[in-house]
């Protein structure tokens, strides 16, 4: 492999690792947001079931 080939592999790896990490963070955030939404919906339902509380 030429010098430029090694350079491309090196830079490709850096952005692959960083991209994968950012993607995993985005997925984790999506999961957390869904959990918050579900909890809020359940809380709303309970409020409606026990009005005046």
């Amino acid at each position: 492999m030429s010098n430029l080939g090694f350079l491309a592999v090196g830079y490709g790896f850096i952005w692959l690792v960083l991209g994968s990490y950012v993607f995993s963070l985005a997925r984790r955030q999506g999961g957390l947001n869904r959990q918050v939404d579900r909890l809020e919906r359940e809380l709303e339902l309970t409020r409606e079931a026990a009005p005046g509380r």
Partner: protein, 253 residues
């Protein structure tokens, strides 16, 4: 039946805490965090331009030397801020017993492992055409590999123990002891015979001024990225902790 009534009453009385505690949710991010993210992307693009186009081609090694800028930036991020924050927050946790320090240490360790991985992989890619081998058991390479194993073990330890003060205490002690390898990695090229070049030296490491500028911009760009990813990761941990607490409070578990 009575238990169900108690649960419903708890639900009805507790909600404001949940709604108000959403501060760390992605959609409610503050402007400065978005600005930090945008700034780090712009800085990385500028650093890429300097490293790949603007900086002169090294006379002996040729274009492969352009890997140097981000290889060193990743190594700096791992050895300096990432594992430094792990050690500092571990000490702070043991002192203050505040779990937030434990969450910051854990997020920083994750980033440190990521940056060490980049260092350990880009180094051999650069070494192959220059040294003629991907890997040698050189002191700098070996101590860096040991550091990577130590903090992978740190993350494995955290995933094996339930969240709480016990895990935080174990992690803090492990993080502080593990950090001892950082100065060893840094000093390895001075203490032992090595083929790894010295980058940070009193004479500037023999770098041309243009190359030095490209290196500092790459380090700055990666530092901004680290700060952004750390803030996002810590906020996620905070939110997950609050969710757990509310669920526990509401007997949803």
């Amino acid at each position: 039946m009575a238990e169900e009534q108690t649960l419903k009453r708890t639900f009805a009385e507790a909600p404001p805490a949940v709604i108000e505690q959403r501060g760390g949710r992605g959609g409610d991010r503050s402007l400065w965090v978005d600005a930090l993210g945008a700034g780090s992307i712009l800085a990385i693009l500028f650093a890429l331009y300097l490293a790949l186009i603007w900086a002169p081609t090294e006379a002996v090694m040729g274009d492969i030397q352009r890997l140097f800028y981000f290889h060193v930036a990743a190594a700096w991020l791992a050895l300096g801020p990432s594992f430094g924050v792990v050690a500092a927050c571990s000490v702070l946790y043991l002192w203050k017993k505040d779990l937030r320090y434990d969450r910051i240490a854990s997020a920083s360790a994750e980033l440190g492992v990521m940056f060490t991985t980049i260092t350990l992989v880009t180094g051999p890619i650069w070494a192959r055409p220059i040294w003629g081998a991907y890997w040698t058991w050189d002191p700098r390479l070996t101590t860096t590999l040991v550091l990577w194993f130590i903090f992978v073990a740190y993350l494995m330890l955290r995933s094996a123990v339930d969240a709480g003060h016990k895990r935080a205490r174990l992690s803090a002690v492990f993080g502080i002891v593990g950090w001892i390898d950082v100065p060893i990695v840094f000093m390895s090229i001075r203490w032992w015979r090595t083929i790894h070049p010295t980058v940070i030296a009193s004479e500037g490491g023999g770098l041309a001024p243009d190359m030095r500028l490209a290196l500092f911009v790459a380090i700055g760009a990666f530092t901004l990225l680290y700060a952004y990813l750390l803030v996002v990761r810590v906020r996620q941990e905070d939110l997950a902790t609050r969710l757990d607490r509310v669920r526990h409070q509401l007997y949803l578990r």
